[in-house]
């Protein structure tokens, strides 16, 4: 099977999309960009191919009558179980790297005790893992670094209470080890084993499917055996220049976001993309060709990182900011567009007795006001208006944008696609397909 891949290397996350010849999205993959774009691109692409296997598997299973009413439930469980298998594999690597790190001479006489504590912590993490991937469970992040970090931190905090080894020393071991684990090239040779193991786990868990394991193995095997040829790859985003791609395989994120938004919502005339360090306002024509664009210059205030910084300041997960801001009942005006000053303003407002949700809501407004300025520089908002990028997943940011778009430009249809974070990658994959098909 020929496939066309788009990879969007953002400053925070790297996304990949796999398309087939009929423009169908087979798979999506995302990972944190780390300090190594090459690894991030490989991981995102690998994740997208794994997702494509799930897509093909779903297609095949539609033909299995026994699963008819239970297909969604089965696949949801199956995917979670597969993610659990992935998590356990990476956890094993992290354990190995941490033990090696604790074997370092620098720890001196504390080495043995640290290693003993690590064994206990990793045993806890292993035992807690299935709970993280139960259907319906929520996680602050989908990335191994964040999930494992949070679990490790909590288990270490408990374990060091009765130990002479300090909590900071344990965190130190983690910080040194996680980089090694993140920078490992994805091991795809175990994928089949992980899929099969996940299948067994799912069939065991879902009562009425326990006898279907053998029946499901064959279609899964056929999906895993399907050859997916990487026919053409296009890279975009901030890290594109660091990819080992020739010039023909690189497109600017402006073009990719414009085209991606058009494909997701064909009536799109204006696109706003708020990413980690860029805010882009793009005007596109009726076929998704960019007419004009504006981006933030010289300063990344008001971009996604702003929210990340605020989340850190408030000890919250990035995912938690939007829901908290939605609980606001009072408008708090945050004047600073500077990320660092906003942190100072946040602490000042807290000391004045303002509620956290009201302050966070004000911070969302500040970021969107800056985006409005870039939008007006680009030529304003025209119907339809498509909001993309990581910040489009934040419901509070969407709500403020909707309000300000209406105040300034009247009634416009605003599209926020659930997969908006993949807009650039979708545009890139479409360019990849066009490079071959046209």
């Amino acid at each position: 099977m020929k496939t066309y891949i788009g990879i969007d290397l953002g400053s925070t996350t790297t996304k990949a999309i796999v398309l087939d010849e009929e423009k169908t999205i087979l798979g999506r993959g995302i990972t944190n960009s780390r300090s190594n774009y090459q690894i991030a691109a490989d991981v995102a692409k690998e994740e997208a191919f794994l997702d494509a296997r799930f897509f093909l598997f779903r297609k095949l299973l539609k033909e299995v009558p026994a699963l008819k009413d239970q297909l969604d439930e089965f696949l949801l469980n199956f995917e979670q179980d597969f993610r659990l298998e992935q998590y356990l594999e990476q956890l094993k690597e992290l354990r190995r790297a941490s033990m090696a790190s604790a074997g370092d001479d620098r720890l001196g006489k504390n080495g043995a005790e640290t290693r003993a504590l690590l064994e206990a912590v990793f045993d806890t993490l292993h035992d807690e893992a299935p709970g993280l991937y139960e259907p319906g469970s929520t996680r602050k992040s989908d990335f191994f670094r964040d999930i494992a970090g949070s679990q490790y931190s909590s288990a270490s905090e408990k374990a060091t209470r009765t130990s002479t080894i300090g909590f900071d020393a344990m965190l130190n071991v983690y910080d040194r080890s996680i980089i090694d684990v993140e920078n490992l090239v994805t091991n795809t040779s175990n994928d089949e084993a992980k899929f099969m193991s996940a299948l067994a786990r799912t069939c065991k868990r879902l009562d009425n499917l326990s006898n279907m394991l053998d029946q499901l193995r064959a279609p899964l095997k056929s999906v895993l055996d399907t050859e997916m040829e990487e026919t053409y790859v296009i890279g975009t985003g901030y890290g594109r220049a660091t990819l080992p791609f020739s010039k023909e395989h690189i497109r600017s994120e402006i073009l990719c976001h414009g085209l991606g938004a058009h494909i997701m919502h064909p009536e799109t005339a204006t696109v706003l993309d708020i990413g980690g360090q860029d805010t882009k306002a793009i005007q596109v024509d009726s076929v998704g060709i960019v007419e004009s664009f504006q981006m933030n210059d010289r300063c990344a205030a008001g971009c996604g990182r702003y929210l990340g910084y605020i989340a850190d300041e408030m000890n919250l997960g990035l995912h938690e900011l939007g829901p908290m801001a939605m609980q606001s009942t009072r408008k708090v005006r945050i004047n600073s567009t500077c990320t660092v000053f906003a942190g100072a303003e946040l602490r000042d407002r807290l000391s004045m007795g303002e509620k956290r949700e009201d302050i966070i809501s004000g911070l969302h407004r500040a970021i969107i006001l800056r985006a409005m300025s870039i939008l007006s520089r680009s030529g304003g908002i025209h119907d339809q208006f498509t909001f993309t990028g990581g910040v489009a997943k934040n419901e509070a940011a969407v709500a403020v944008l909707q309000e300000l778009a209406f105040e300034n430009y009247g009634e416009v249809t605003m599209n926020v696609n659930p997969d908006s974070i993949y807009t650039g990658a979708l545009g890139a994959a479409t360019f990849a397909r066009r490079a071959v098909v046209h």
Partner: protein
């Protein structure tokens, strides 16, 4: 996009560039020894400079903007700016001003490392930029020297009226010339001025020919990055001199040869061998990262075919020439006609003309962070030009001589996006034409 690009580490230069470098260097030498040799020194600005007149009084001519940009190209301006900020000048002040003041505070050494003399007279013929007035106010305070001031009325309605012309001539006769006579001790000789203006007109003819050679495809010149070199002598201490005339004759010959051979512009990495995109650019270049900035264009096969910056020291391509028969009138018309003295609608008209006459694929604004005079209105200009020409426009922000305001990764990212946008639109246009 360039031949011989990576094989040679030496920077490629046109012969005329070498000639020009020698001229500039000689002028800095002359400045450093002027007072020892009993010569008087004038200091004046590029837009509206009255070089031919100053030459009549044997002044050695100093131009603070040229010092600032030359210092930036030699990576010295950052330190000067910090020095000026330490003495109380705000972060938002024009960085040419701060570089100049910092240079003075750090020992008054010019870009070549030789001392710059304290001027005997400041000739403030400001055109369109109010900051110039404040700049010389500060400089006068430091140097405690005489100032001759020429008020040049702004072309608000896009035309030069007889009243405006008369007003400038009156000031020349009653204020500027008597001051220059007094400071220099030399009597004004109008025939000497006529002679200088005659030389200017010859150089101007050749400069216009060179700039207009960019109408050819491929263009034999880059009218922005290369254009800055071409304008150097005529914008600074040399207009009206025989040296300048000789330089422009040599330059014309050089460009004519390239044109005949069908060659593109010479970049620091060799001859650009494929012209993919033709641009018109508004705004000065960034001087602190001049080569890196240029490379972002020629690496992508982008050539600038016309620019407004090469008109700030005089607009010659609409027919104006210094006229020996009407010396003071033509000095007045020259000052009034500088690009910096044009209204926003006049600037838009000129840039639209360039877009059409030079067959450009796009229009780019390089807006200057610390320039409040000329950055204002640039987005409106961009919209208008985009609408009138139907060609895609781009906008980037950098600075003149403050290295802190040039972020290479960001500028490159935006430029690449813009260039790809132009190519995408061109491809669509070509497809439609073919259909």
């Amino acid at each position: 996009m360039t031949t011989a690009a990576n094989q040679q580490s030496d920077v490629q230069k046109e012969e005329s560039m070498v000639l020009q470098k020698a001229m500039i260097s000689a002028n800095f030498d002359a400045l450093s020894t002027a007072h020892e040799e009993g010569k008087k020194v004038s200091s004046t600005f590029v837009p509206g400079n009255l070089n031919e007149l100053l030459m009549c009084f044997d002044f050695v001519r100093n131009l603070p903007e040229i010092n600032a940009l030359q210092s930036a190209m030699r990576k010295k301006s950052g330190g000067y700016i910090m020095e000026a900020e330490r003495s109380g000048h705000s972060e938002d002040v024009c960085t040419y001003v701060k570089s100049d003041l910092g240079m003075m505070a750090k020992g008054q050494l010019g870009p070549t490392g030789k001392p710059l003399p304290i001027p005997d007279v400041l000739l403030l013929s400001y055109t369109g930029c109010f900051t110039f007035m404040k700049w010389f106010e500060l400089v006068r305070d430091q140097y405690d020297c005489e100032t001759a001031m020429l008020h040049v009325p702004y072309q608000a309605n896009g035309e030069i009226t007889q009243n405006m012309r008369d007003f400038v001539i009156m000031q020349l006769k009653e204020q500027v010339i008597p001051t220059l006579e007094r400071v220099s001790g030399i009597k004004f000789d109008i025939d000497r001025l006529r002679e200088n203006l005659r030389e200017s007109a010859k150089a101007e003819d050749d400069l216009v020919w060179v700039l207009q050679s960019a109408k050819n495809r491929p263009s034999p010149i880059d009218a922005y990055f290369g254009g800055i070199y071409y304008c150097g002598p005529i914008f600074s201490a040399f207009r009206g001199s025989e040296d300048a005339t000789a330089y422009y004759a040599a330059l014309r010959k050089e460009v004519a040869k390239r044109l005949e051979q069908g060659l593109g512009p010479i970049t620091p990495e060799g001859v650009m061998d494929e012209e993919r995109i033709r641009l018109v650019v508004e705004g000065p270049p960034n001087w602190t990262h001049f080569r890196d900035f240029w490379k972002m264009f020629y690496d992508e096969g982008v050539v600038v075919v016309a620019s407004s910056y090469t008109k700030v020291g005089g607009v010659y391509d609409y027919g104006f020439r210094h006229d020996p028969e009407n010396p003071l009138e033509s000095l007045a018309d020259y000052c009034l006609g500088c690009y910096t003295n044009h209204s926003l609608p006049a600037r838009v008209d000129m840039l639209c003309d360039y877009m059409n006459e030079y067959n450009a694929d796009g229009f780019l604004v390089n807006s200057i962070k610390s320039c409040n005079s000329f950055s204002a209105g640039q987005l409106l200009m961009l919209r208008e030009i985009e609408e009138r020409t139907g060609k895609p426009a781009g906008f980037i922000e950098t600075d003149l001589v403050d290295p802190r305001y040039f972020s290479p990764a960001n500028v490159k990212n935006r430029l690449e996006s813009y260039f790809q946008m132009i190519e995408q639109k061109k491809a669509r246009g070509d497809a439609r034409t073919a259909a």
